[in-house]
């Protein structure tokens, strides 16, 4: 084990955890600030990844493509298509109780997975899209991942800044007021459904961008990459551990949880071959039990809800 090796793995680790942090920030926008129950993150993640891949790749006989757009445009498109999807899902469900959105998002994630698998003209089906261009590939030599990490950090910083800004604005105050007591906000004549929808769509935009980052970093995406466990549930655990309605906590939660998730992998390898299948199951059970313990004992997570400027000051 060399120092350079550890460093390069650390960079790699931070990129992955950083992409998860983008997802967690996005989920915090939806769940933390607006109280929305999205358990179809995998769907938005996949849509973002595929959109960006298709937009930026050169022509390929295997799937839709050939637009050859720059990286930035790819990411933007990923966000836009993902938020469009959220908008469509939101129309029938967002005005109803949280549960409906939850069920609908599970459903939409499943359908997206089926579409990706079966519509080969669009996505190359189960074979996946390979050779997704990396921004400025070829420059930076062996330090390329460091450059990519900077992009990820930049995106996190941007989303963090915008989330904080947004949540402290009048818009954010109303959003939080809705989560506390919907009826009061309705009574003062605000369109509750609209605010919720905006938070949902914004969160989906961030998820789409996160998906785009994932696609460009791994250079290869296939339907297998967007399973509910890794893509949806892990993000929820990150958010709950870090603390709902706390952007900083969300980011820390993402890094800690991803560290433990990838870290406990070595346990599997240490067991004799006959027990390894069990080890993976035990790992998920432990993560699940850990989550339940947090929910029961400290549902506000490690950092708890941040004290943002209160609603009353907003009405000054």
């Amino acid at each position: 084990m060399t120092f350079a090796g550890v460093f390069s793995y650390l960079v790699f680790f931070l990129i992955f955890a950083g992409i998860y942090a983008v997802m967690t920030l996005a989920l915090n926008m939806q769940r933390g600030f607006a109280g929305l129950f999205n358990i179809g993150i995998a769907g938005f993640w996949a849509v973002g990844a595929y959109t960006s891949a298709i937009m930026t790749k050169g022509p390929s006989p295997d799937h839709l493509g050939g637009f050859g757009m720059p990286f930035i445009i790819g990411l933007l498109a990923a966000g836009i298509i993902s938020s469009l999807l959220a908008f469509l899902v939101g129309i029938p469900t967002i005005r109803l109780r949280e549960d409906y959105l939850g069920i609908a998002t599970i459903g939409i994630a499943e359908i997206i997975r089926l579409v990706i698998k079966n519509e080969a003209w669009l996505t190359n089906g189960v074979r996946g899209i390979s050779a997704i261009p990396k921004p400025l590939a070829g420059s930076f030599g062996s330090n390329y991942n460091l450059f990519f990490l900077m992009i990820v950090v930049l995106v996190i910083a941007l989303f963090y800044y915008l989330s904080e800004k947004g949540i402290n604005s009048p818009w954010g105050r109303i959003l939080r007021a809705i989560r506390e007591d919907e009826e009061v906000v309705k009574a003062v004549g605000k369109n509750v459904v609209r605010y919720r929808m905006e938070a949902f769509v914004l969160g989906a935009f961030m998820m789409g961008v996160g998906g785009g980052l994932y696609a460009h970093f791994t250079s290869f995406i296939s339907p297998e990459a967007f399973k509910p466990m890794q893509a949806t549930f892990l993000v929820w655990i990150m958010l709950i551990i870090g603390g709902s309605a706390n952007n900083f906590g969300s980011i820390v939660g993402a890094f800690l949880t991803w560290g433990i998730w990838t870290g406990t992998e070595f346990l599997t390898g240490m067991l004799p071959a006959a027990y390894t299948t069990q080890a993976a199951a035990i790992r998920v059970i432990l993560i699940g039990v850990f989550l339940e313990i947090i929910l029961l004992n400290r549902p506000e997570g490690l950092f708890g809800e941040k004290k943002y400027s209160s609603v009353s000051t907003a009405d000054r």
Binding site: L96, G102, I287
Partner: protein
Amino acid sequence: MALQLFLNGVILGSIIALGAIGLSLIYGILKFGHFAHGDLMTLGAYFAFLFKVQLGLPFWLAFVLAAALTAGAAILLNLILYRHLKKRDSVIVMISSVGAALIIRNLVLLFWGPQNKFYEKAIQMPIVLGDGLLRIKENQIIILVLALTLVIAVHLFLSKTKLGKAMRAMSDNIDLAQITGINTERVIIWTWAMSGVLTAAAGILLAFDTHLTPVMGWNLLLPLFAAVILGGIGSPYGAMFGGLVIGISQEMSTLIISAAYKPAVAFTIMILMLIIKPSGLMGKKV
């Protein structure tokens, strides 16, 4: 062929209906979507596998024991998780039920492994009716009879017993029920027990018709919810009807669309229902 698909749909539909009754009552009484319901179904099916195949008990006994154990598991979930989370917002309860679903599924993986399992190693040749027009296995007739018996039992329970009436009353209006002096804690426990029995039955019958796999219940979660929403949350009769509709339309859909998109059918019906009448066919206002 349409007739055959219809029959397959009725079989699948009655299985979904059994699972959906419990889901709907819990939804109505405890006011949250129970996302571990599908995995409880899996658990029930594997309990029956344990008794029937691994311990060699007769099928009816395995059925009863598995149903009892699953009811116990459902009550346990309520006892250690949902009861304590009741005061929190419903998203917390729901995510904890998603966590419970994961734990159950992986416990099944841990004890029984990922391979598909069968109650019977040998296969059963179908009874052919009307010159190959319709094929039905003996097992499938048993499934239909059992499902019907259970549905009638549920109906009698809900309409004739004091406990059953209390359940319906609570699902209808919990505040009113409390005023009338119903012991809500007790009713909640019995609701979990009944849901556990019905879900186990659904899981066992599904596995009896096909096979056991650790994701069998999770894959049925969306159809279960679709049935509940179609019938109206909190309405057990609505759930039965919803289950049949979802089952039949899923199977019949293959006449028009590719079988690969079958899971999308339940979703589409559910979304349409939410747009047209979110309270469901037999439900109260949301």
